[in-house]
């Protein structure tokens, strides 16, 4: 158990492809850090470099005070859970879990005891004599966990360990893994493409895109204060709505021009972001999350100049809430997430998603007014895509 330091880790493949560019991160002792990003962003490469399964092209990797760049995987004191579990099919569950101990020449009696302890934590004691082929997906996943926890390593690596499970089991294992990690207090580096997993499990979440770290912060901070457009769009489901807009000042009031509509922006919103004054009358990127929109007929006492007027295109009643989609006559912004669905829009209008409370009575085709919580707007530079804050 120790701190882990990635100092400007870079991976360039022999064919010239640069998978990771100067990735710097520090994991505190016992921290659960989730590295999240769209598919093909290099997150698994980063994990495999830490594991020692890929060479480090440049940069340094420390666990505690120890430089690990040239250390063999077996000597790194790092345990890894693979996406495919990679269980040994010819061994029983007990032999699978005990294999790392056997390689360390730990005596039979101690080995049995430690395997049993690990199996108790993972509720696998009934399955110890079975072969992996006789287990369910969730049990196999736990055996893979068992093989990692049985030797109390300095660091756990987990490579999308839940992606082969069905949705219900995934939710349960999500909580289980986070619980076990907290119980054992082992520093954990967890890779996933699922931002829900990242938000629910991590003490801290690092968002990566095209091999470049975008932002690393606690889940709430990431959600409330995304550093750039990509993080804003990637974190949160449904995604943040992002459009090109212009902020103008008229008679001491601030107005946001969003296509053919305008929204009044309270003074304190601009006051909290002094840099925003430099962008007056220039195109910038504005973002608002679906939950910051509400049906005006549900919450009538909202300032009328902080409303959008639109026509409902799609309605999805989820029970606890209702998602509605409508068009906004402003150009949308490409966040750069390759996994994002193609926007159903064109140059002039783009889709907007809102999360209304279940009390809403809107129907498809209705003309509605939509309250916008202008306090919670996000502003970004149109060119650099960086957040406009101080």
């Amino acid at each position: 158990m120790s701190t882990v330091t990635l100092d400007k880790l870079t991976k360039v493949y022999p064919n010239g492809f640069q998978a990771i560019t100067e990735l710097s991160l520090t994991l505190e002792d016992g921290e659960f850090l989730v590295l999240v990003g769209p598919s093909g962003c290099g997150k698994s490469t980063a994990l495999r470099m830490i594991a020692g399964l890929e060479d480090i092209t440049s940069g340094d990797l420390y666990v505690g005070e120890r430089l690990l760049n040239a250390v063999q995987p077996k000597d790194r004191d790092i345990a890894m859970v693979f996406q495919s579990y990679a269980l040994y099919p010819q061994m029983t569950v007990a032999e699978n879990i005990g294999f790392p101990l056997k390689l360390r020449k730990i005596g039979k009696r101690d080995r049995h005891e430690q395997v049993y302890q690990a199996a108790e934590i993972l509720e696998l004691t009934e399955q110890l004599e079975k072969k992996p082929a006789q287990l369910s997906g969730g049990q196999r996943q736990r055996v893979a966990m068992g093989r990692a926890i049985v030797r109390r390593p300095a660091l756990f690596l987990m490579d999308e360990p839940l992606s082969n499970l069905d949705a219900k089991l995934r939710v349960q294992m999500r909580a289980d893994i986070a619980g076990i990690q907290r119980e054992l207090g082992v520093t954990t580096f967890y890779v996933t493409h699922d931002q829900v997993e990242a938000m629910t499990m991590g003490d801290r979440v690092a968002v990566i895109k095209d091999g470049i770290l975008q932002q690393a912060a606690a889940p709430e901070a990431l959600y409330e204060n995304p550093d750039n457009v990509f993080v804003a769009a990637f974190i949160g489901s449904p995604s943040m709505n992002l459009y090109e807009a212009t902020l103008a000042e008229a008679d001491g009031d601030y107005l946001l021009r969003l296509g053919d509509q305008t929204l009044a922006v309270p003074d304190r919103v601009v006051a909290a972001r002094p840099a925003l004054r430099d962008y007056l009358d220039q195109p910038l990127v504005v973002g608002f999350r679906p939950e910051d929109l509400e049906d005006a007929s549900v919450v009538p006492d909202h300032p009328d100049d902080q409303r959008l007027h639109t026509e409902i295109a799609v309605r999805e009643a989820l029970g606890a809430e209702t998602l509605v989609h409508f068009a906004i006559a402003a150009p949308s912004v490409d966040s750069g997430d390759p996994d994002a669905l193609d926007e159903l829009g064109d140059e002039e209008s783009s889709r907007c998603t809102a999360r209304f409370s279940a009390a809403t009575r809107v129907r498809v085709g209705d003309r509605v007014r939509v309250n916008v919580s202008t306090e919670r707007l996000h502003f970004f530079d149109r060119k650099t895509h960086l957040a406009i804050r101080s």
Binding site: P73, K74, I78, A86, Y88, Q90, L103, P132, R147
Partner: protein, 358 residues
Amino acid sequence: MRRSSTLSRIGLHATMLVLVVWSILPFIWTFQTSIKFTRDVAAKEPVLWGYETTANAYRAFWLDEDDINMWSVLVYILVVAVVCLILGQIGRRVRHSWPWFTAAVGVIFVALWRFPKVWEVNDEYDFLINSIVVTVLTMLISLSIGLLAGYGLARYTGISGAVILIVALGFRALPRTAFVLPYFFGAKEIDDWLNSSGVGSWDFPLIDFPGIDTLQILDTRLAIVLALVAVNQPFTIWMFRSFFMEVPKEIEEAAMMDGATRLQAFRRVIIPMMWPAIIATGLFTMLLAYNEYLFVRVLAPTEWTLPVAIVSLTGGESSRTITEAAAASVSITLPIVVVIILFQKHLVKGLGAGAVKG
């Protein structure tokens, strides 16, 4: 699926029956010939039923004495076979199977070694030993090289790997006859050098092979083994490579993360997953080495293996040697049949796809 009609099922079974009879009839005929007296074999009208049986042909082929009760030999063989089967079955059921399998091999070894001390044997017994030595050595060397090379070529994706594989396949496609003379002359060159330089007659202080005065290549089991390994290697490499390709890379990576070196990962995790493949490839290699005629005939003029020994019997006109040749054929086929029956389950498993998937 639609249930097949009674008629088509009858047709299917009839076809299979014809095929089975067609394949097995020559073997039955040979077996009958081997247990008949010469007069019945040579009779103008084939004697198919009710002939008097004898083990004379077996005795004549294997043994150098005329007054041995062949029942005692049969009992000897059966006892050895049953003991080995029991040991093998125990080995299959217990956790640590190696001692039991080793014991079975030991029993066979002792039985083969004691046999000539109990009964006077012919030269053909030496040819049996040659056959066994050549087959076992060819299997061991072929499988070892094949496993390592197949693993390497399955994991290495560079262009030179593909070149090696394609060249190997090309050599495999060439007719065996094309290799015989080069091997012969190569071996002869080495022997000439050993003779002329005097190396062949050196007295090596620590290595003392009983019955061998001078080192040579031609007319030794070594020559046969080397040649057979060379021609069989492309096959084992391709077989093993295709099996290794099915082993996910994560499994050995997991083993390395668990603290294994690459070699430990190979030996303790990958090899145990490969047993069906090893058995299947091993059986094919065994058949190749055990049945080889041409290489043995050319490279070893006197150190024959059994197929060559049998052919030497069938060339003559005498009907006495025909029963002997039949007896020899039956007795060298039976061990192979037994081995195939014992391992046929693994053979199917090994040849079927996905055998090693977890």
